[in-house]
């Protein structure tokens, strides 16, 4: 359940922005989470509801944008789509590819007032 730690990181980052940007309430938080990231989205949503309590984001809604798994196959020298970390390259069937996207865990944007 490191989703709690991740949510603490989100609230921490948002609170830091409060001081820098001068707002009093967070209405919405947009996250970008890669499809292959080590995150369980239901657990993340549950943890967010717990961790946001008594913070500037107490009523904030969470919007999660899922980013697809992408890789560069070294054999094919081509960009490929990857569904799981153990997937073979859909073109050559090999596993010699390097992940180029899909493991993101980013706070993209806030809506504040």
């Amino acid at each position: 359940m490191h989703e709690f730690s991740l949510c603490e990181g989100i609230i921490d980052a948002v609170t830091t922005q409060t001081r820098q940007q001068g707002f009093s309430r967070v209405r919405r938080v947009w996250l970008e989470i890669g499809a292959l990231a080590n995150v369980e989205l239901d657990a993340l949503r549950f943890a967010f509801e717990v961790v946001r309590a008594n913070t500037i984001a107490a009523a904030a809604e969470l919007d999660i944008i899922t980013l697809p798994g992408r890789a560069w196959c070294l054999n094919c020298a081509q960009a490929i789509a990857i569904g799981e970390l153990y997937d073979p390259c859909p073109l050559c069937g090999g596993h010699q590819w390097r992940l180029t996207g899909g493991n993101e865990m980013r706070i993209k944007e806030l809506e504040v007032e």
């Binding site: 490191h2 990181g9 989100i10 080590n38 970390l85 153990y86 073979p88 706070i107 944007e109 806030l110």
Partner: protein, 286 residues
């Protein structure tokens, strides 16, 4: 409608939004209005783990300043990490300083076992936490755990999920899988095997007694991470331990030689400054 912030005011004259703190501003020719209560968007594009990454970078600097090799040992509970560490510490402690940080939810039992092997060990109890983070490791780093040219093993909480995401400042993650577990764990917990540089297949002395297909396990692990190095050993019988100890020694020598390179570069830069500065002094005297 204000085109810059969409604040709803009819505003023919452009106004500056350069100051983000300028929440209450006056539009020329219009009434003062309060932006603090109107929704606006702030683009962040910030990694959720950014803070952990900062702490990890701090730890990494501490280790690099001493030419230390730091390994983050991750596995399920019961894979034999502590036995492996005790045997490893005993075999290496005479060659260079060996230190251990042990992470568990409760008790100092692991650290006590490792101290009994004659090396400094500090226990971090994570309480309800399921992983170590770079901040907690940084706090645990007292002088007994920092030694020139030494090797620090960080025994993470037994968990194949959460520790995968948390950089502690280590040179590499070493994942330990024992043959009493499922051979398909690399597929079930791919993030951890993808994040590791070395896999130790432990308890191979028990292979005759269990249905564990080593080749299949290796195949699964390499599907997730084609670059994963794999060593088979038994910390209990000692079989295969020599290759693991050699791997650690090679890593230690590598860190130390990089440390020497950095020191020599610093020394050369200091010499250059001295010669340059000395020239100026002579000119002043003349």
């Amino acid at each position: 409608m204000c085109a810059t912030c969409g604040c709803g005011e009819s505003e023919p004259v452009a106004h500056s939004h350069s100051q983000a703190q300028d929440a209450n501003h006056h539009h020329p020719g219009g009434p003062v209005h309060d932006h603090a209560h109107e929704p606006r968007r702030i683009s962040l594009e910030q990694d959720i783990l950014a803070k952990n990454a900062e702490f990890a970078a701090g730890n990494r600097r501490l280790f690099a300043d001493r030419g230390m090799l730091v390994l983050n040992l991750v596995s399920s509970p019961g894979s034999g990490k502590t036995t492996l560490l005790v045997q490893t510490a005993q075999a290496l402690r005479d060659a260079f300083p060996v230190m251990v940080i042990g992470g568990d939810q409760q008790t100092a039992r692991d650290a006590e076992r490792i101290r009994a092997a004659g090396v400094p060990a500090v226990q971090i109890n994570t309480g309800k936490g399921c992983h170590l983070d770079a901040h907690g490791v940084g706090h645990a780093l007292d002088q007994s755990l920092l030694a020139e040219g030494g090797v620090l093993f960080i025994e993470n909480v037994g968990n194949l999920v959460c520790p995968a995401d948390f950089d502690l400042g280590e040179a590499a993650k070493v994942v330990i899988l024992s043959v009493t577990e499922g051979e398909d764990k690399p597929l079930k917990y791919p993030n951890m095997f993808a994040a590791s540089r070395l896999m130790l297949l432990n308890k191979i002395d028990l292979l005759p007694h269990v249905d564990f297909d080593v080749d299949r396990c290796v195949d699964y692990a390499r599907r997730v991470n084609p670059d994963l190095q794999i060593l088979r050993l038994s910390a209990r019988s000692g079989e295969g331990m020599a290759a693991w100890l050699d791997w650690v020694r090679a890593g230690q020598r590598n860190e130390l030689s990089q440390h020497i390179d950095r020191l020599e570069a610093d020394l050369a830069a200091a010499r250059a400054r001295l010669i340059h500065g000395g020239g100026e002094i002579r000119r002043t005297i003349i």
